[in-house]
């Protein structure tokens, strides 16, 4: 498999490839802007596979990763992405609850802003919280997940993974399965995949779908077999532990029985269907280990790899104006 050459999508004359100060969500991005980020990410994939992985384009810039919600993987991914580009990366992890007790979110934002960061990466458990902060700070803000709303870099890395494996996005059928109601990953993916011409399905028990989710441009299934039928990509979502026992579904056992991805169930999808999961996985709840670990089908570790490349691309693009890159000032 050969990676597509970077910059393969030519822009119409006079169109700026990415005229946004922040990356708060996929909503509001035009298809060519999404493709631009994917193409930019593409070049970092090979770079990351080489032994010497140091670039210095963000040297002297301060990147703050402000995580108000627990995260290991995403935080690590952003930290590595920043460091590979030469940025001074600082992590601030705060439990959202301790912020509520004292300092307000905006106070925290102003405090961060006073330290003159060049980019802030934010994760928060409330929908809209990242936008709220972005309105109050002087530097670009990158949304690393806000509540149930958006998680744009996850959708970008998913798209990059699919594109590299399948060679395209347009025309593919992507089944997004599981806790759609509470998933920012699902919302960002609905927008991104739909925008690039994929046929998107939401597959979940009715309690985990969300009202009028069909209005988000997806086809809705409450039966797993039907939802997987003929799919090119099967994207599983994580079911949070607190939603398992009786609140939204009766038990993990019943959930796995009807909505867990097993090899048998996967047979309904296309023979070469790709299996994805944003992680961390609940093995035996939404996905069977045999499927998750099937190297031929599962792209789960590749998603993690693409995550770093996508985040490097986003960090690079969002700081170009600050760095005075030609054409971006």
């Amino acid at each position: 498999m050969t990676a597509p050459a970077p910059g393969r999508h030519s822009l119409p004359p006079g169109v700026h490839p990415f005229p946004h100060r922040h990356l708060l969500g996929i909503e509001g991005l035009l298809p060519h802007e999404i493709l631009y980020l994917l193409d930019e990410a593409e070049r970092w994939v090979d770079f990351n596979r080489a032994p010497a992985k140091a670039d210095d384009r963000l040297r002297g810039l301060t990147q703050i990763n402000a995580f108000f919600e627990n995260s290991t993987r995403t935080l690590l991914s952003f930290e590595i992405a920043g460091k590979r580009l030469g940025a001074d990366v600082v992590n601030m992890t705060v439990g959202a609850s301790s912020v509520k007790k004292g300092e307000t979110l905006l106070d925290t934002a102003l405090t961060l802003n006073s330290m003159h960061p060049d980019l802030i990466v934010i994760r928060h458990d409330a929908s809209g919280a990242v936008q709220l902060i972005a309105e109050k700070v002087d530097c670009p803000v990158l949304n690393a997940g806000d509540g149930r709303h958006e998680h744009p870099t996850q959708a970008l890395l998913d798209a990059l993974t699919i594109r590299r494996r399948k060679g395209r996005l347009a025309g593919l059928t992507v089944a997004i399965c599981g806790d759609v109601l509470h998933s920012r990953v699902a919302r960002s993916n609905f927008q991104l995949l739909g925008s690039l011409g994929a046929k998107v399905r939401a597959v979940a028990p009715p309690t985990l779908l969300g009202a009028q989710v069909d209005r988000l441009g997806v086809e809705v299934f409450t039966d797993m077999e039907a939802g997987l039928d003929g799919a090119d990509v099967v994207m599983m979502l994580r079911l949070q532990r607190e939603r398992m026992a009786g609140a939204y579904v009766p038990s993990t056992r019943e959930y796995f029985h009807f909505f867990g991805l097993t090899a048998q169930r996967l047979a309904a999808a296309k023979p070469d269907a790709l299996v994805m999961h944003p992680g961390p996985m609940n093995r035996g709840v939404e996905i069977d280990s045999a499927v998750a670990d099937d190297i031929g089908r599962s792209a789960i570790t590749e998603q993690v790899e693409m995550g770093v490349a996508v985040r490097m691309a986003c960090l690079d693009v969002l700081t170009r104006t600050r760095r005075g890159v030609e054409g971006w000032a």
Binding site: T104, L106, H124, G128, H149, R184, A211, R215
Partner: protein, 408 residues
Amino acid sequence: MTRLAIVNARLVDPASGRDSPGSLIVEDRAIAALDAPPPDGAEVIDARGAVLAPGLVDAMAFRTDKAACLAGGITRLLLMPDQSPPLDDPALVERAERLGKPDVWVHPLAAATVGLNGSEIAEIGLMKAAGAAGVATGRRAIADSGVMYRLLQYAAGFELPVVTHCEDVSLTKGAVATEGEYATRWGLSAAPAFAEALAIARDLRLAEATGARLHIAQVTTAEGVALVRAAKARGVAVTCGVTPPHMLLNESAVGGYRTFARLSPPLRAESDRQAVLDALADGTIDVIASGHDPRAQDAKRLPFADAEPGAAGAATLLALALSLVRDGRLPLLDVVAMLTTAPARVFGLPTPSLAVGAPADLVLFDPNAPWRIDSDRLPGRAGNTPFDGLPVEGRVLLTVKGGEAMRP
């Protein structure tokens, strides 16, 4: 002794049905004469054709906010029991009643349950004796149907109207928006709009069973409106109200996570808003209230779900209600009635009127004067309004309370 003559006015008096040019003379805190020449020594105010009406009676306020009332032409208000501490004790009711005098008269609504906890009925008889105009469940419904049943039975014995917030408690737990495409798109936890209909249906049935007088503080959905309309048709003693946000805005106003549009009940679908307008036009909805609930900046400058619900509304009540007249839905006389005589009737207050001998509680307003609502410049405790930036027509020129003229 104050003597005031307001001349060249358009007198709008729902109590008598009058809507015609005229003048009015105030002497010794009461209306002394109509359409008579100004007496010697009186302060003469030339209304230049502006509307002179009885002072507004605000059927739902969460704060006694004199500056906002003065700017809004409100001379009496029904104060919700959600105070700190809640109005669940006769002494607290007495104190609340004195709070606004002399500029605004406050009619406290007694907390239906102790501490508004929804489980133990408060001393509503004693609170009535202390001046409570009614009983209210506060910002939330009483979840326990048994408690609500006994409350209505008991309140009926004292002939106290019971004001209820109609949203099913378990369906709306944790919800900050109305279920639907918008809430799903924005990732906000939401409750179905029928949470209102469930609560209304229950309370109507309980009111019917007990003979209590029920006042539903806010009806905001098509289903809720239909239930009230049907109940009225079969003779249930029910009245209901609405606030301007549910008349003029729908759920899309929350876009961009605007916490000023975080309200309780939350904003609804456009079809619900249209049903509310129809219900105002056909008389199903009795009163338009401000729901005045100003919030400190700290309570609104938060992520949407963490922000407190509520908006300032007293200063903008009249101008926003007048949109019904401008849009040709209701004559001015009817809209003024929904702001004056209708709420007075719900709570058994003296009928606001322009009759000779009536207390001189008046509002003089220019129904056509344009202005723009600016949350940074609203009078009162705080200016968080979902109508920030909206151009409106109708400006209060003068508020008269007990014969004292006050310019906003």
